[in-house]
């Protein structure tokens, strides 16, 4: 056959057609199809977690003051799941959302991997631990030799435990009185106990065993005190049908679960307490036996309560007189009533006037140091070091005035005044603090009036952060000496249980340190040794672990074994009779700002779904945040539809929120569960540090509120602030 064009095409076409038919009938397409499907089932970018031997390791979660026992499931060396430890007295198997997400912190992208030094360009460069400690020692040596050891200060999240004690000891030997710790409402309650009962103790609220709980804005199931323990206590209340009365302007979850919700005008909670005191005293509904045996000065209390008639209190608080009367009588008639305070999670101090009135209320009902009441316990005493020798410089420096003025003058019973510390630095002239060590605290985020805190930190020439994460404060530090995370280190904790028992626990490392980090205790010991002389002599221990072993003594082995021990010394603290006559004269603590230019009141609200203190929320937490709280990067503020319609604001629309401290753009969320005239904003958002999962989302409430000093304690007790909200 001649191969002309036509034949060629026919032949070619036939070959192609034959090829197609042949291929289709062969197993090839089926094989390819199958292979492609198998490939989609094993995409190399979809991880396959390696399997291995599983183990379970007990520890204690130290991410919040709650101190729950945890069991970490590991596969080989990887921690894969955190669960609540079933036999741990605090949480009995339960665990909170933050604790559950702890592995995202451990393995998260914002871990600081090595010591870092700020460069001239504002960035950080990696340095070795030896370099870092030498550098810090050199700086401190300079300050010391120039006779200003007191210009070194330390700011910590808490003042309990061996790590804090080591920092304190370091400053003592070095020569600075300026150890400052953040204060919570519980610390202020301790001050009240000191003033009214002359006792130094830890305070515990035995909610679980009470039968009538009057909560003055305490987010009992929203992270207040020890979150899991409190949620369990709340379930116990439900089971035995105890009564919970929640006093707060917003229908929080605690209010929603309460048997009675009393919306109150922010800042007038104390008036309500006095109103209740008035009813109880006037009608003599108090526990006469207890009052006679254990208290003095009831006459003075009656006198102070006298002006707080139902009408007056009702007008001030916005609560109906009949409601005040019924709450007061129900409270008084209950077998085991308890009044608790500390708004939200209780992470900020409360005014002394308020707390003393609350404590008086408890005392009138005999709900002090008894089951279902407020219990004061002797603090744990296992840290029984003797003070080290100070050299001359040390002695001189330590003898100087504290920068924050705490512990003397007007504030003899307040141990630390972080807010005054900031304002002192921001005062005229040079900063009195030339080097600041920050551990377990993120003041640039969690202190009120963030702008002022930032200004103060800019004035401090040398800032050292011990953070594990690149938080707001670490970002402005001169030097970062990164700590292990809670799952990589030893930490001692002392716990007070509601039942009046106290327990010592040991948080033990469950994984090897992932990065080149050191325990802050170790860093302090290294630093002291580098400084030499009497400072070095104050630290005879080789390491933090050695120090902890020695400090816990015979408890060490069993703590390592079982994780916790009932503290034999933990007895109910004996004080003097409760002295009602020292109860402060009621004083208005109205929110900052004038009502004419700022007609609304802005209050924060706390939720377990957002961490708002030293630790940033891991991605899992953000995932649980509702879209009525955060939408894309916008925060939503809650407002009553009635107020919103007056201001011409509507759901999900932008608005400008202005307070005397600042202005931000927010979105509106209409919520029937908030008092007209009040607006509420979630705490825990608006981070500028951490990772893309947290940073830049929403607004930090602390930017909008400033410190408001309590006249008795000097502490910052601001909670709400006056505000305006306009269409934007």
């Amino acid at each position: 056959m001649k191969l002309d064009r036509r034949n060629f095409l026919t032949l070619g076409g036939s070959l192609v057609a034959g090829g197609v038919v042949g291929t289709t009938l062969s197993p090839l397409p089926w094989k390819l199809m199958d292979d492609s499907a198998i490939w989609t089932q094993n995409w190399p970018w979809t991880p396959v977690p390696p399997d291995g031997a599983a183990s379970f390791n007990h520890s204690i979660c130290t991410l919040c003051p709650g101190k729950c026992g945890i069991t970490v499931k590991k596969v080989e060396s990887r921690a894969i799941k955190i669960e609540g430890r079933k036999d741990f007295p605090v949480n009995q198997g339960g665990i909170c959302i933050l604790g559950l997400a702890g592995l995202q912190l451990l393995y998260g992208p914002t871990r600081i991997e090595t010591p870092l030094l700020k460069t001239a360009g504002g960035g950080f460069k990696k340095i070795s631990w030896d370099e870092a400690v030498s550098l810090l020692a050199k700086k401190l040596e300079e300050l010391r030799s120039s006779g200003k050891p007191e210009s070194v200060a330390a700011l910590t999240g808490s003042d309990t435990g061996v790590t804090a004690a080591l920092i304190k000891r370091f400053l003592f030997a070095y020569g600075s009185p300026n150890f400052i710790s953040e204060q919570t409402f519980k610390d202020t309650y301790k001050i009240a106990l000191k003033k009214m009962q002359a006792l130094q103790g830890e305070v515990v609220f035995d909610i679980e065993n009470a039968d009538y709980v009057l909560s003055l804005g305490s987010g009992i199931i929203e992270g207040w005190d020890s979150p899991v323990k409190m949620i369990k206590a709340n379930s116990a209340l439900k089971t035995k049908k105890a009564f919970l009365c929640q006093v707060e302007p917003r229908l929080s979850m605690t209010a929603a679960k309460a048997d009675k919700w009393l919306p109150v005008i922010p800042g007038t909670e104390t008036d309500l307490v006095w109103g209740i005191l008035h009813v109880i005293l006037n009608q003599a509904l108090y526990n006469k036996e207890f009052v006679a045996e254990n208290t003095t000065g009831i006459e003075r209390l009656s006198q102070l309560a006298q002006p707080y008639t139902l009408e007056k209190v009702s007008a001030a608080t916005g609560i109906k007189s009949s409601d005040i009367l019924s709450v007061a009588t129900q409270f008084a008639k209950a077998a085991k009533p308890i009044a608790v305070c500390g708004k939200g999670q209780g992470s900020t101090p409360e005014s002394m006037g308020h707390i003393m009135a609350v404590h008086a209320l408890n005392a009138l009902m005999g709900s002090v140091n008894r089951e279902g009441g407020v219990i004061a316990l002797n603090p744990a005493s296992y840290i029984s070091w003797t003070n080290p020798e100070q050299d001359e410089t040390g002695k001189n420096g330590f003898g100087k005035e504290r920068v924050d003025g705490a512990g003397k003058g007007n504030y003899p019973d307040t141990p630390f005044l972080a807010n005054r510390f900031i304002s002192a630095i921001n005062g005229q002239g040079k900063s009195p603090v030339e080097a600041l060590l920050v551990s377990g605290s993120n003041p640039l985020y969690s202190f009120t009036d963030t702008a002022a805190v930032k200004k103060a930190f800019e004035k401090i020439p040398f800032i050292v952060s011990f953070s594990s994460f690149m938080d707001e404060t670490a970002k402005v530090a001169t030097l970062i000496l990164p700590s292990h995370t809670n799952l990589e280190r030893f930490e001692d904790v002392s716990l007070c249980l509601g039942s009046g028992k106290s327990v010592i626990g040991l948080s033990t490392p469950v994984v090897e340190p992932k990065f080149d980090t050191r325990h802050t205790g170790d860093a302090v010991i290294l630093l002291a040794k580098k400084l030499g002389g009497s400072v070095a002599n104050a630290f005879s221990w080789e390491s933090f672990e050695a120090c902890l072993t020695e400090t816990l003594g015979d408890k060490w082995e069993s703590l390592k074994e079982s994780g916790f021990l009932e503290n034999p010394e933990s007895l109910i603290a004996a004080g003097t009779r409760i002295d009602f006559s020292v109860v402060a004269e009621p004083k208005s603590m109205a929110p900052e700002g004038d009502a004419a230019s700022y007609p609304l009141i802005l209050i924060p609200y706390d939720s377990l779904r957002l961490a708002h203190m030293a630790v940033g929320s891991p991605p899992f937490l953000l995932k649980t945040v509702e879209d009525t709280v955060l939408k894309k990067n916008d925060i939503l503020v809650e407002i009553n539809p009635q107020t919103a319609s007056k201001l011409n604001l509507s759901e999900k629309k932008y608005a400008m929120l202005k307070t005397p401290k600042g202005a931000v753009r927010v979105k509106i969320h209409l919520f029937e569960g908030i008092m007209p005239g009040v607006i509420a904003m979630a705490r825990g958002l608006g981070h500028t540090a951490y990772d893309d999962y947290l940073s830049g989302k929403g607004v930090n409430f602390n930017e909008l509120i400033g410190p408001m000093e309590d006249p008795i304690s000097g502490l910052d007790v601001s909670y709400g602030i006056r505000a305006t909200l306009t269409n934007a």
């Binding site: 199809m33 492609s36 499907a37 490939w39 989609t40 089932q41």
Partner: protein, 414 residues
């Protein structure tokens, strides 16, 4: 340039003019292809769908083109089985439209699934209880029937017909076409129905759920019936559009009139069944689940309110049925056109609500109506088959003897 390929005795526009037209539509096609590739390579996050709208624009488009493409099977049924021989003058075009519609539907389905490379699992691991499996099987087999019906037309291309084997093949296929048409009708009944069943079996979705007859919910029968009823309207509409574009009469009035009349009576009978179904659902089925009729038409976002049921049933159903069943109205060109347009809209709305309103309606009492806005990628991939259809229909018209009456109606001088 391509004159050797054109059918004999008809006039076609110049090749450059044709090419420009194809290029313009081709650009739209490419846009759609780009969006399709985005969906395949980046995943379905390219769409506006979400967890509440697992089914959205595409599934509607799928259901709609299949309903509209129903003209192919129903015309085939009428011609080959019932014996309405006049319809041979429109059957080719109905087959072309059907082919376009069904291939489009398959393409859309291939984009719509999250794991296109595994889509054959629907056959391999089939769950025979699933309406979607029934759809997939019948759809793909029926598509092969359509392809078989298309082949003889293709082989009648002047050049191909010169090959003896092709000529013989086309001839033989014409001979046994009734067998294929019957099989096609059988398969169509099932897949049109099972598409209806897709919504009707959702007993968790009170808006969609219907009582059952044997193993099928009422929507099964309603969908088959409506596709048969409305499909021919789409065939007529596209014929009219083609006539408009080519400025030629391509099909004789009696043929169109016959199809329109049958369609009209089909729509009328369908409407009776649909109204009974709606009434029963509104008064018996929905209340048994604690819901009132008005709750389904109280969309807070304003889309799904009473207008949509009026548009579907009255404007898109009763009205075209009245026009098409009336000889005088039907004979009026404008009225006929209006009727087929309304009918096409009506069936599209029906398919829309049976997919999207089902998703929008909150079943849990504490939820709100769900809103959905398609992304441009979804719109582009939905337009893609339209562009593809225009191109394929143009090619078919240009090179194949699609309209047997064209030569007679448009004699070429000289």
């Amino acid at each position: 340039m391509d004159s050797a390929l054109l059918p004999k005795g008809v006039k076609r526009c110049s090749f450059p003019q044709f090419s420009i037209g194809i290029l313009i539509v081709g650009a739209v096609l490419l846009w759609g292809v780009y969006a399709m590739l985005l969906c395949w390579f980046k995943g379905l996050n390219q769409t506006g769908m979400n967890d509440s709208y697992g089914f959205a624009l595409w599934i509607w488009a799928d259901l709609a083109v299949i309903a509209l493409g129903g003209g192919a099977f129903f015309t085939g049924l009428l011609k080959y089985i019932i014996g309405k021989d006049e319809l041979k003058n429109i059957i080719n075009f109905a087959v072309v439209i059907g082919f376009i519609c069904y291939s489009s539907a398959l393409l859309i389905l291939a984009i719509d699934v999250g794991q296109p490379l595994r889509s054959w699992f629907i056959f391999w691991h089939v769950n025979v209880h699933s309406m979607l499996a029934e759809v997939a099987f019948c759809l793909s087999i029926y598509f092969s029937v359509l392809a078989i019906e298309f082949v003889p037309l293709l082989l009648e291309n002047r050049k191909l017909d010169e090959v003896p084997f092709f000529h013989n093949l086309a001839h033989n296929m014409h001979e046994v076409m009734a067998v294929f048409a019957a099989t096609g009708a059988f398969l169509s009944c099932f897949h049109q129905g099972s598409l209806g069943g897709v919504a009707g079996v959702l007993f968790g979705r009170p808006f969609a759920f219907r009582e059952h007859l044997l193993v099928w919910p009422w929507t099964f029968f309603l969908f088959t019936w409506s596709a048969a009823a409305y499909g021919p309207c789409f065939t007529i509409l596209l014929t009219k559009i083609t006539e408009g574009i080519t400025r030629k009469k391509l099909v004789k009035d009696n043929v169109v009139d016959l199809l329109a009349k049958i369609s009209g009576w089909m729509i009328a009978s369908y409407m009776v069944a649909k109204l009974i179904d709606t009434w029963y659902w509104a008064t018996v089925t929905a209340p048994s689940r604690g819901l009132t009729f008005m709750q389904f038409y109280s969309d807070g976002n304003g889309l799904y309110t009473l207008w949509i049921i009026v548009a579907e049933l009255v404007v898109g159903g009763i009205l075209p049925a009245l026009i098409l069943t009336n000889k005088t109205l039907r004979a009026n060109k404008s009225m006929l056109l209006l009727a087929v347009i309304l009918a096409c809209i009506g069936v599209c709305i029906n398919r829309w609500v049976m997919v999207l309103q089902v998703m929008a309606h909150p079943v849990l009492p504490f939820e709100e109506w769900f809103a959905y806005m398609p992304s441009w990628q979804e719109v582009a991939t939905t337009i893609l088959p339209v562009a593809y259809g225009v191109i394929l229909a143009s090619l078919a018209y240009r090179y194949l003897p699609v309209f047997p009456q064209e030569r007679e109606l448009n004699p070429v001088n000289g």
